[in-house]
Amino acid sequence: MVEITSPAFKANAREALADAPLQRALGHVRSGFIAKRAVAAEALPEFDRLRDNARDIKDHALAHLDLYLEAYADKVEAAGGHVHWAETAEDARRIILDICRSKNARTVTKGKSMITEEIGLNAFLEEHSVAPVETDLGEYIIQLRGEHPSHIIAPAVHVNKDQVEADFRRVHTHLDPDRNLDEPTTLLGEARAVLREKYFQADIGITGANFLVAETGTSVIVTNEGNGDLTQSLPKTHVVVASIEKIVPTLEDVSQILRVLARSATGQDMSVYTTFSTGPRREADPDGPEDYHVVLLDNGRSSMLGTEFQDMLRCIRCGACMNHCPVYHAVGGHAYGWVYPGPMGAVLTPSLIGVDQSGHLPNASTFCGRCESVCPMRIPLPKMMRHWREREFSRNLNPAAARYGLGLWAFFAKRPALYQALTRVAIGTLGLMGRARGRFRAMPLAGGWTRYRDLPAPEGGTFQAQWAKRHGNSRRGTR
């Protein structure tokens, strides 16, 4: 399993804030993705209608998930493929290892897949003497670095060009040490050449899936590098690993959702490659795998059905929510401490690894709502983060001091007369204290505020007190 550092979110965040290269890299997220999505959305007058449509398609699929999953599995088998049901990450790893063993596989190539991150597949395969090779450029880079993705569609967004160059020189020792790697395109070319070899060595190709189509038993991947196609068509065996909520009823549904996916993610109309695979190679096919397996993973999803978190299962992993998130912009993806970062991670992670481990995530949000405003699947992310806060509150998981403070505040907030008597005195005093400067540089119990900013002093005298003085009870509702 991927190591969980979500409980240390605050420390992770502090580290990230002090990491100058990371901060520079995050600047690119802020400028690039947002502008591109805005242009793409603007250019398509029916964009918002397509979002409604996409939401409805997934809602329907989730409402009949069992039915569509069975239909899908039947179709896969009818096409000559094999379907494996995995309830847990452990089950999925086992199933995949068994397939590897049955093929005597030494090397597997991998297309970009968050689900194999979720089940910690690479480390597990390595432990069992199978070498996984990431073929997406970003994934390849972080594999060389021994890291995990910091973004669900741009896994190496935290790495800069100089770091990549150093990694390539360190690992690609068979190449001329004096070669020139100044240009990003040279780096790309080198990665291509190295990976090309691996495609031909690989015994198995493993991909994720963006969609599973019930109507046809087809798995769909979208990529920009074409690496997914080579991964799944060159080796003799293709293994698709996908979580159960990837299901959609028809090919028409896929084409509907595709229209919002790339636009939301990168601002492209469509990704460069959209690849459909159905079963192993048929007689007349020019290429394709001899053997085709699908591992369908639950890993906690089915227990989200019927709860206040079901809507999260609509997510198509476009990354728009994190691209627009001020907290993600500040700390990057690794600070979140597990596989899924940003707003979607703040909702999904507690469902998958437990809120006691990841309680910070749904709390570390300003509820600015920008994620929800761009989510192509109209997932109410802030609302679901709040639902996690409710679960934490009802289980007394939040810090005692915060609970105590909140309880005290609520006691007075529910008693207007008492509240006003108290605030009249307190604010009067505070106003007098702050009169000379108009603000405080430090304030007992408000260190969280005054560590970084001044606290503006009250003007003096509450509004209620001043209003009562001017109008008595004549213009006051008294209930």
Partner: protein, 273 residues
């Protein structure tokens, strides 16, 4: 306030106010305005009275309940909401000088009563009457200009709830353009969060600080001498940061400028003279 500020009685959601009669507005002061900046409340009253409203301030109000709601404490949030609804439901309109509090009253109260159809219906009827101040002036009363003067350059920050929950974006800008002498200089990314986020800013001060630093950078780059917004929480956050950074940019609630009530020191500034 100009004369086209005619209240259309047809727009009254409960049909209570008859044609020609001044709409009765209950002012939801908001806890921050009540405690830190009463002048915003008085500016709100002036703006609405100039527009022909009759404004009351129910004594039985404290806070909208958002701190409890956003901390996962639905029980207290609901108890506070019940009190607010009781105090305000007889008015034609309920107006708050804050997008965040108005958003709470308008968009979230009903969901607090999920298990009780009657209470939920009552909350919905209440919420239908709630408006943020500037949206109320522009969208409900149809005001297109104000009778105020302000010599200088201003920049406007779109607070998140007002923008994304209530669709407030053009309304304040349109009214500000009618202020004599005022020049609006837009900042980059005016729709990006300032990092306040209620209790977020004290629970995650390091992250909040990073976000507000970005914000004050874009504010300074705008080159205006006055920063305006419609939410006191965000304003105190941005003012506190600007002052800590030693910036001379002043900070006020948009209502103060629209009402022409800028005699009191700006947020976080000391009294002159």
């Amino acid at each position: 306030m100009t004369a086209n500020a005619q209240h259309d009685a047809q727009q009254s959601p409960n049909g209570r106010s008859e044609a020609g009669k001044a709409p009765r507005v209950g002012l939801f002061v908001t806890c921050l305005v009540d405690l830190f900046r009463p002048s915003v409340g008085f500016a709100a009253v002036k703006l609405m009275e100039d527009a022909g409203c009759r404004v009351d301030v129910p004594a039985a109000q404290t806070c909208c309940g958002q701190p409890a709601f956003n901390s996962g404490d639905r029980k207290d949030a609901r108890a506070i909401a019940e009190g607010v609804i009781r105090s305000f439901e007889d008015y034609d309109y309920v107006v708050a000088p804050s997008g965040s509090c108005a958003g709470m009253l308008k968009k979230h109260y009903a969901e607090l009563f999920d298990d009780d159809d009657e209470a939920r219906a009552r909350a919905e009827a209440f919420s239908a009457k709630v408006f943020e101040l500037v949206s109320f002036l522009a969208d409900v009363l149809g005001i297109t200009e104000v009778n105020a003067q302000h010599e200088g350059t201003v920049t406007y920050h779109d607070s998140c709830s007002g923008l994304r929950e209530l669709g407030i974006r053009q309304q304040p800008r349109r009214l500000l353009r009618s202020v004599e002498g005022l020049e609006l200089k837009e900042m980059k990314d005016s729709d990006v969060c300032c990092g306040f986020g209620g209790t977020f800013c004290v629970k995650y001060p390091d992250i909040s600080n990073k976000i507000v630093e970005e914000k004050t950078r874009t504010i300074r780059e705008a080159g205006a001498s006055l920063l305006l917004a419609g939410d006191l929480g965000c304003l105190m956050n941005m003012a506190g940061k600007l002052k800590r950074e030693g910036s001379a940019i002043e900070v006020r609630h948009v209502a103060e400028v629209l009402a022409g009530m800028t005699d009191q020191p700006a947020i976080g500034e000391k009294r002159r003279g």
